[in-house]
């Protein structure tokens, strides 16, 4: 029971990072039907940004986090503008391959500039471990969970309550009708990339604190896992991405707990295959029906 509780805590902390990343995948997919494979690399850049501002500019955690959010949001908008916007009317596969290209560019560009070495992320917050009835929770874990939940709540409010949020929902269900009521497609798409990338930037700083190490290829595996999380939740569904992220986190720590650490990645992909076979629309995916 104790191990179970412990793994639950570890799984939720890791899961909230996947959830933040999965949200970016699902929102971008929802709006332009593109799997943005460069999304994991934005998370890497967020971590590097955090590393530099903490080390060089002596930012505290809050400022490192906020500046990483802003930095990644801008980066997301720039990437969309230069890489995906010119392909708006091309076949979907063209944009998909471009996304993979952008991912390679960011990974190798960063390797070229900063070498492939792993760097240790500055411990801007001193780790304190609390003991609660046999369970160990660190302040970092609480911080990750709290920040992630706060950001998800904020995102939900933006999508549900703001004008831009309504525009996003309208564009995702019917871009043509959205234009006919006066919604600017380009602005809405840029805004979506900004929101998704902001979440990835926050996740990057949080993972830096959690695992203490960053490198230019750190975005690959979490990126793919977050993509799996988005698919499990139902790609295009915002609550689905959050739930999917937590599920993947729990699954991964659970598998490690029963002594199958070597298979922790394989299990995630296995679950993806199973979900695609039995529930292709994901947990929260909608089965769309058209009315005549």
């Amino acid at each position: 029971m104790q191990t179970f509780g412990q793994q639950l805590i570890n799984g939720l902390s890791l899961g909230s990072i996947y959830a933040l990343l999965a949200l970016g995948y699902t929102m971008v997919y929802g709006i332009i039907k593109l799997i943005n494979f460069a999304h994991g690399d934005i998370y890497m850049l967020g971590a590097f940004w955090g590393y530099y501002v903490i080390n060089q500019l002596h930012f505290n955690f809050i400022w490192a986090m906020l500046s990483a959010i802003v930095f990644c949001a801008i980066l997301g908008v720039i990437i969309e503008y230069f890489a995906y916007r010119p392909l708006r009317h091309s076949p979907r596969i063209t944009a998909l391959i471009t996304a993979i290209g952008v991912s390679f560019l960011l990974e190798n560009g960063m390797t070229y500039l900063f070498t492939a070495n792993t760097r240790s992320f500055p411990q801007v917050i001193k780790t304190v471990t609390y003991h609660l009835g046999g369970l160990r929770i660190s302040n970092i874990q609480l911080l990750i969970l709290g920040t992630a939940c706060l950001l998800m709540l904020l995102l939900e409010l933006i999508i549900k309550r703001t004008k831009m949020g309504r525009a996003m929902r309208a564009v995702s269900v019917d871009p043509e009708a959205a234009q006919l009521v006066g919604i600017n497609l380009n602005h809405t798409i840029s805004f979506t990339f900004a929101l998704g990338s902001a979440m990835a930037g926050a996740a990057g700083v949080l993972i830096g604190l959690y695992y203490n190490s960053i490198d230019p290829l750190m975005g690959m595996t979490p990126g793919i896992k977050a993509f799996v999380a988005a698919v499990i939740g139902g790609i295009g569904s915002v609550p689905g991405a959050s739930v999917g992220g937590f599920l993947i986190g729990l699954l991964e720590t659970g598998v490690q707990a029963i002594g199958l650490s070597a298979y922790k990645d394989a299990v995630v992909y296995f679950v993806l295959i199973v979900i695609l076979l039995v529930l292709p629309a994901g947990i929260f995916g909608k089965k769309t029906k058209e009315k005549v």
Binding site: A167, V173, D174, E176, Q179, L180, I183, T288, K291
Partner: protein
């Protein structure tokens, strides 16, 4: 109010519209009738700024708008009710209407706009908290029209409002189009149901293969033997 001059529009590699000319005066109901594929929707999409013409002009209130982006067209007072309704599923009826007022800044008058829409379509008021996707086809048509009205258009473009509807709904929709027009909105109506469209229109144009073949008042076209043969089943 709106005039279209020598308009040429391509749809992919096909020239869908070949030098079309027509005009709409303030306060009129003008109809464009024609068979499927004649290019009717292409013309509406060009006016709405979703498609760009190869050549020709669209002049609205003394301003050329053929290169103006869709949101600016809505802002200028032209709203389209697209073919197939295109309501937003997953959003409630009321949220759909709210989207129609997306560009409006005059918050106070928006409350009045809801009232106006609910007066035209009382059923929408009953169903205002329902997911728009659960509405019947006729109700969805009403919602699409209500959404366009929320922008307070000077000119309303209607694309096949009767398509796929039961006769009882068709009559209701046409009555409301007349009422909207009587309340001061100019209407451009695209229809395959030529009989209905011509009977409420001040003037009409017959479009075939991307060209205007005939024009006249609604009554003239209804009486025209060629029109009767081709579009009225006569």
């Amino acid at each position: 109010m709106l005039s279209v001059k020598d308009l040429v529009v391509n749809y992919g590699a096909i020239q869908a519209i070949k030098k079309v000319n027509f005009e709409i005066h303030t306060g009129e109901i003008v109809t464009l009738i024609g068979a499927n594929g004649a290019g009717k929707s292409t013309i509406l999409h060009t006016i709405s700024g979703i498609m760009r013409p190869v050549s020709g002009q669209v002049t609205y209130l003394d301003r050329q708008i053929q290169r103006v982006a869709a949101p600016k067209i809505v802002q200028a007072g032209i709203s389209q009710v697209p073919e197939g309704r295109h309501i937003f599923p997953g959003l409630s009826v009321q949220e759909n209407l709210q989207m129609g007022a997306f560009l409006r800044k005059d918050r106070r008058n928006i409350a009045q706009a809801y009232e106006d829409v609910y007066n035209y379509f009382p059923v929408l008021k009953q169903r205002r908290h329902q997911d728009a996707a659960t509405l019947s086809g006729g109700e969805q048509q009403m919602l699409a029209m209500g959404r366009a009205l929320m922008a307070k258009p000077k000119l309303m473009l209607l694309d096949e409002p009767s398509m796929g509807l039961a006769p009882i709904f068709i009559n209701e929709i046409f009555d409301i189009i007349r009422a909207i027009n009587a309340a001061g909105t100019t209407v451009l109506l695209i229809e395959q149901n030529a009989n209905k469209a011509l009977s409420i229109a001040n003037r009409g144009y017959v479009l075939a293969s991307g060209e205007i073949k005939l024009s006249g008042t609604g009554q003239e076209l209804l009486a025209n033997t060629a029109v009767q043969k081709a579009y009225l089943g006569g």
